[in-house]
């Protein structure tokens, strides 16, 4: 009796341990990046869930099929937008959604154009939708490509074949997509970091304040997948132009003989996609005298992929003296570079909280400012903010170099008073020529660094790198931390591991049990007949239980 008690307890322990199903090793595990989840003025957007544990399914689906327990896989190569529209506008409940981004191989690089249009269309669709299920992006790789045809061969919804269907179908496997992560939490007071560099000019004998010229660019991005939003053009290009201009002018200003009579203020602001919130807070913190000394500010926004036309966006009328001066000096240099600059005037509407261009924040505190951009139309909220489609190959190095030459040359002529004179300050092959390798290396770095502001900590690597770089080129660097405007709320959990498991149906297990049971029974019968004789077998069948206990 004691024996049976201990065996019983051991059995219970083993059962308890056994029931804890460990997920173990999956055949395929890839990095998955979650669609951004944010609230705008309390309205929820993006993917509202993070944990995923459903069967995989691939289009085409039978009509009217229930997909609420299916994780739908959509490869981006041949994305069916009508299907996606149906899902989103019809508010269809899915188990989950997985987008497969094409592999980043050299072959893929050739046809990036169509993929980029698909990506930007997809991004527009997703960031304005409210999806109450997990949505993930993953890069295609060989393992996933092997799995896809198998998933398609199932009945589309990915549900495993039931035991009642034919024999062969029992052997088809279905696949489960699993992301085990905790529920996404709100990010409490995410910080945005503004970095400014100050390059003082040559003070004359008087103690009067020198005028200041500001060059500003916002460095953060926003996109559908925060971990993939590298924003090479918006606004990596602006940051690179700013850094190169800072480097060139720091060379000039290092020698008192060539120091201009203007202070130079370089600003790398954050919070760009959120109505340039960071810029506003940076300006509000300014000392009154410095702010009043700013003659004008040039803001750079997306100057990396243009051919021969740039736009100057202003909020003051173009007839304004300062605006006209700046425009004409830019136009002069542009003519030399064989490009044109157009001017666009957009009045500020104080009651409208939407700030489409960075210069508008300056104008609201009565500082003359303008934005130089390849975009001719003001972008909508959260558009053109460096998302999925904005990768390294959407930027043209020569365009950036032209932008640098344009801004540096016209600033230089303005500072040193060379208007109208045929002088090239930053001529090629001179000691002040622009450095294409510097441009390329910073562009490469920025194209590999996702920079969505709420997910950048105060001392993130890229923030420190930018700070150090500005410190190399300027005399005084200051870093200001602010919190994002209350209009936006962000949630964490942007990156997880997606595991793909091959699973069989319960029916399959039952069939296996039946086969094995049958095998054991046959084995038993054969052994009994072989060793004890047929009569023993008959005897056993007639009186099974009593005979066994007697033998034990």
């Amino acid at each position: 009796m004691v024996m049976s008690l201990t065996t019983y307890s051991i059995l219970v322990l083993v059962l308890v341990l056994a029931v804890c199903v460990e997920l173990g090793d999956a055949a395929t595990a890839v990095d998955a990046y979650r669609l951004i989840q944010y609230d705008l003025d309390g309205a929820p957007y993006g993917s509202r869930l993070a944990a995923l544990n459903h069967f995989a399914g691939v289009a085409p689906f039978a009509s009217g099929v229930d997909l609420s327990r299916t994780a739908v896989i959509l490869p981006l190569r041949d994305l069916n937008f009508t299907l996606l529209h149906e899902f989103i506008t019809g508010k269809q409940q899915l188990g989950g959604l997985l987008f497969l981004l094409p592999q980043d191989t050299d072959n893929a690089r050739k046809d990036t154009g169509p993929i980029r249009t698909i990506l930007s269309k997809l991004e527009h669709l997703l960031i304005h939708a409210n999806l109450p299920y997990p949505v993930y992006f993953a890069h295609e790789d060989d393992k996933i490509n092997e799995v896809l045809p198998d998933v398609q061969r199932g009945d589309g919804t990915g549900q495993p074949a039931s035991a009642t269907t034919g024999g062969l179908e029992l052997m088809t496997h279905s696949f489960k997509l699993v992301v085990s992560t905790s529920e996404p939490k709100k990010l409490s007071s995410p910080t945005i970091t503004n970095i400014q560099g100050w390059l003082p000019g040559l003070k004359g004998d008087g103690t009067s304040q020198l005028p200041t010229i500001a060059v500003v660019a916002s460095y953060d991005t926003f996109g559908a997948a925060p971990e993939l939003s590298v924003g090479s053009d918006s606004n990596g290009s602006g940051v690179v132009v700013l850094l190169e201009i800072a480097r060139l002018f720091s060379r000039l200003y290092s020698n008192p003989n060539t120091r201009g009579r203007y202070n130079l203020l370089f600003g790398l602001t954050s919070g760009g996609p959120y109505n340039y919130d960071g810029t506003m807070k940076w300006l509000r913190n300014f000392d009154q005298r410095i702010r009043e000394s700013i003659e004008f500010a040039i803001c750079l926004n997306s100057v990396g992929s243009w051919d021969n036309e740039l736009w100057l966006h202003v909020s003051k009328p173009p007839e304004n003296v300062y605006i006209r001066q700046v425009y004409e000096s830019l136009a002069d240099v542009a003519k030399e570079l064989d490009v044109t600059i157009g001017i666009k005037h957009k009045k500020i509407n104080i009651s409208n909280s939407r700030v489409a261009w960075e210069h508008e924040q300056f104008s609201r505190v009565r500082v003359t400012a303008l934005t130089l951009s390849e975009l001719s139309v003001a972008p909508e909220l959260l558009h053109n903010t460096g998302g999925l489609s904005d990768s390294r190959d959407s930027v043209d190095d020569t365009a950036i170099q032209k932008s640098i030459k344009l801004v540096a040359e016209s600033l230089g002529r303005h500072i040193y008073g060379y208007h109208g004179r045929n002088v090239q300050i930053f001529a090629d092959n001179s000691s002040l020529a622009l450095n294409p390798f510097y441009v390329k290396s910073w562009l490469d770095l920025l194209s590999q660094t996702p920079r969505v502001a709420p997910f950048l900590s105060k001392n993130d690597a890229i923030v420190s790198a930018l700070k150090k770089e500005l410190a190399d080129h300027t005399d005084e660097v200051n870093v200001y931390h602010e919190t994002i405007d209350g209009m936006f709320t962000f949630y964490d959990s942007t990156r997880s591991t997606l595991s793909i498991y091959q699973v069989t149906s319960v029916g399959f297990d039952f069939v296996m049990l039946a086969i094995i049971g049958l095998y054991l029974i046959v084995l038993f019968t054969v052994l009994v007949i072989a060793t004890r004789g047929f009569d023993e077998l008959l005897l056993m069948i007639r009186r099974p239980p009593t005979r066994k206990s007697k033998a034990a």
């Binding site: 199903v21 498991y501 094995i516 084995l523 038993f524």
Partner: protein
């Protein structure tokens, strides 16, 4: 359900041993003691083998076939035979006939072998969500192993316990013993050098074990034929 799969595979791996015990007269004569003793001897043999392997074998990262290493492994495999000899001859058993003795020893040996080599991988691997055929194949292998071990035990009992054997059969007996003892090496050679896939390998194991079983059965009955 993955626990279900684990139970299926466990049944396939360890079921036949239980079935063999209950189906044959082993259960009638209560030879469980012999089985347990054989299992313990197997444990001891396994430990000795492990120490020898650790001492003499070099660890290589690649899965390729190294003839020298395999030869060494085969030699160490003969320790198995020595263990079986010990279990058959040296242990004191209750008064059971030759016939049942080798069966009991073989069964205990095979059961211990299965448990040591297959239980933990089964426990760790078969309970996961991911489905592979691996553990089903492992179960079929366990069956083949059982038959192989029984044949080896039979040949072993012929070699060491039976005094008067027909002269002509003796070389065949020793040849069979040699083949059975080197069977693990043969299988590993097929898997590594020739790169056979699991289904093919398992089929080969099954067929070879059945063939060896028939041969040893014939030899056994030939030797026990009344003169």
């Amino acid at each position: 359900m993955t626990l279900f799969h684990f139970l299926n595979c466990a049944l396939l791996t360890f079921g036949p041993h239980a079935v063999y015990y209950t189906a044959t007269p082993l259960s009638e004569y209560d030879t469980i003691g012999t089985c347990v003793k054989a299992a313990i001897v197997y444990l001891g043999t396994a430990l000795v083998k492990l120490i020898c392997l650790a001492t003499f074998l070099e660890v290589s990262d690649s899965d390729s076939f190294n003839p020298y290493q395999e030869l060494l492994k085969a030699l160490i495999g003969f320790i198995d035979v020595a263990g079986l000899y010990f279990a058959l001859t040296q242990l004191t058993h209750r008064n059971i006939s030759q016939n049942h003795k080798f069966q009991a020893v073989g069964l205990g040996w095979a059961f211990a072998d299965s448990v040591l080599h297959r239980l933990v991988p089964l426990w760790v691997g078969a309970r996961g969500l991911e489905f592979t055929w691996e553990y089903i194949f492992q179960g079929i292998e366990a069956n083949a192993d059982l038959v192989l071990n029984l044949s080896l035990a039979a040949i072993g009992s012929l070699m060491w316990l039976r005094r008067n054997k027909p002269k002509t059969l003796i070389p065949i007996i020793y040849a069979c013993a040699g083949i059975l003892a080197t069977m693990p090496s043969i299988i590993s050679y097929l898997r590594r050098a020739l790169g056979w896939q699991p289904p093919k390998l398992v089929a080969f194991e099954l067929s070879s074990s059945l063939v060896m079983a028939i041969i040893s059965w014939q030899l056994f009955s030939a030797c026990h034929r009344p003169a």
